[in-house]
């Protein structure tokens, strides 16, 4: 899932600025699961903004609403009326949600309430960790299901650097060394031989380096009318 974190109230206040009518828009999918921008968080942020603006002597009207998925037009249609009535939409969706609102409602001013962090998973209650960098050409089959692109601090493809120590990455003892994980997993699966071949330079064209990406599935597109 996409993992995000709320911006500070200070920054949110600045982003909202002098707007009188505010709509806090939560999202019911990834950011709900990571407790950053679901209906609960949207209600709390709305209350905080109301309180803060009142204290500042500039009481704002702040409503909140949460859609199932901000990243799909059809769910956004449900809030079209509310969006049309406010001066600013504070989206608690991920960066995709914010952009979906901007794209779908050309007349709406939308600002982000979250910092979108990464694609990952919860490793324990209250802890999320990155797992995939969407490189566009998955090599997990060569690395025992541990991603060196997203999880090795240097995205190395041919084994650990000299900084690996006691299972940790050189950048921080809180970060696992991806190559230690790969090594351990391949050892336990008796498949170490896959590490002996030299992996050639990666073609980063499939990654963000190739420019913004797009997938077109002709088989799924609605037939164009002749």
């Amino acid at each position: 899932m996409i993992v995000a974190e709320q911006k500070t109230l200070e920054e949110i206040k600045t982003l909202v600025g002098s707007a009188k009518n505010v709509l806090v828009a939560g999202c019911g999918t990834c950011v709900t699961v990571c407790f950053a921008g679901g209906s609960r968080e949207a209600a709390i942020v709305a209350a905080e903004l109301r309180m803060a603006s009142k204290l500042a002597g500039d009481a704002k009207a702040v409503a909140d609403v949460t859609v199932q998925r901000q990243c799909e037009w059809e769910y956004l249609d449900e809030i079209a009326e509310q969006v049309g009535k406010v001066d600013v939409v504070l989206s608690l969706g991920c960066g995709i949600g914010v952009q979906a609102i901007a794209e779908h409602f050309p007349n709406a001013w939308v600002v982000p309430g979250l910092n979108t962090k990464f694609m990952g998973l919860p490793t324990e209650q209250g802890v999320w960790a990155e797992r995939c960098a969407a490189c566009g050409d998955c090599i997990l089959g060569l690395t025992g299901g541990v991603c060196p692109i997203a999880r090795c601090s240097k995205s190395l493809l041919n084994g650990p650097c000299g900084g690996s120590l006691d299972g940790h990455c050189e950048i921080n003892s809180d970060v696992s060394c991806a190559w230690q994980l790969i090594y351990d997993r391949l050892t336990s699966m008796d498949k170490l031989e896959v590490l002996m071949d030299i992996q050639p330079p990666k073609n980063w064209k499939t990654s963000r380096d190739g420019g913004p990406r797009k997938i077109v599935r002709e088989d799924l597109r609605l037939g164009k009318e002749e």
Partner: protein, 343 residues
């Protein structure tokens, strides 16, 4: 095309190694400014005492004069540079173009490294590159030389860069069991020489070399273990506790402490500046002694072709170490006769 008479590059380091001499390389850290006199001063301390000088590339992710720039100055000064290049700061385009330039400036040895993460240095907010890794860099530059192609596969017209290509290995970094294999990968990729992380623990290094020999890697490359003179017991403990892949046996720490024993137990204020100077001298002398003994022990290990002396910000130490280890004067192996172009 340059005819290198059977040599890959014809560099001094390659000639010394290929002719069976025990090689000595040293290290020079370029300054954090644009002052060429720093390079000249430091290189004067190394001239004649080693077969090649490593020039670090933004070591520990701190901006310094480029290894290529410093290397070009060394060429002018009549020393043999071994430029280091890390994967952190350049993509494959920048690497190849810089290496064409480095060769044109007379640089003939290259050490391919991963590079410390930028979070250690003075620009922690920088974007890193890591387009290719160090094994891939070794392969790329070897193919530029041997196949005369760029990384993309396009043919190179005209003079190809003919480097003596090396790589690094940290024998005691984790996972330890994988290290000899990783070394093997780099050698398979084309590394003609290997410089290692600093070695103090001889038994541990011997164990590493046993595996290296079992894999036959020592016959396909020249291995130069790293050594470093300790400056003080504090430095020794710092290295032991903070630098991944450096093992320092207690016995060495004890020797360093014993060297300063007559000043031990005194508080900072009780020591006069003269005391401190004398203590520092005693520590340094012991550090150099340990380094010499380490070299002598490493020399006995089958598969070791030389040593790489890392006297970081202490280039003065190289001369007594090389002399003390009986490695002075350095061998002179004449350069191959330059021959007329074949094409």
């Amino acid at each position: 095309m340059t005819n290198t008479n059977g040599y890959l590059s014809g560099s001094n380091l390659e000639r010394v190694l290929k002719n069976g001499h025990f090689a000595v390389t040293a290290e020079l850290g370029p300054p954090q400014n644009a002052d060429r006199s720093v390079i000249i001063k430091k290189s004067a301390l190394l001239k004649g005492y080693c077969d090649g000088v490593n020039l670090t590339d933004n070591q520990t992710a701190i901006v310094r004069m480029s290894s290529i720039g410093a290397g070009a100055i060394l060429v002018q000064e009549g020393l043999e540079p071994i430029i280091q290049m890390v994967c952190r700061d350049r993509n494959r385009l920048a690497m190849q173009s810089d290496l064409l330039g480095a060769y044109a400036l007379g640089i003939r040895n290259l050490l391919c490294l991963t590079g410390d993460h930028q979070s250690f240095g003075n620009h922690p907010g920088a974007k890193n590159v890591f387009d290719i890794d160090s094994a891939q860099m070794v392969q790329m530059v070897s193919e530029m030389r041997d196949k005369r192609i760029f990384q993309c596969g396009e043919e190179m017209k005209g003079q190809e860069p003919r480097f003596f290509v090396g790589a690094a290995e940290s024998p005691f970094a984790h996972p330890v069991d994988f290290r000899p294999y990783r070394l093997g990968k780099k050698v398979k990729a084309g590394a003609s020489f290997i410089q290692t992380q600093i070695v103090f623990d001889i038994p541990a290094f011997k164990k590493f070399m046993e595996k290296v020999r079992e894999l036959g890697i020592h016959k396909q490359t020249y291995i130069l273990p790293g050594v470093s003179p300790l400056k003080s017991p504090t430095m020794a403990k710092y290295m032991r506790d903070n630098v991944p892949g450096i093992l320092i046996p207690d016995e060495i720490i004890k020797r360093m402490e014993a060297a300063g024993a007559i000043w031990a137990g005194k508080s900072k204020d009780e020591l006069t500046p003269e005391d401190k100077k004398a203590r520092s001298k005693a520590w340094q002398a012991e550090g150099i002694k340990i380094c010499i003994e380490t070299i002598q022990q490493l020399r006995e290990v089958e598969g070791v072709s030389g040593v790489h002396i890392m006297a970081i910000e202490w280039e003065e130490a190289v001369k007594p170490i090389v002399e003390g280890a009986g490695l002075y004067p350095r061998p002179v192996v004449p350069a191959p006769e330059p021959q007329a172009d074949k094409n």
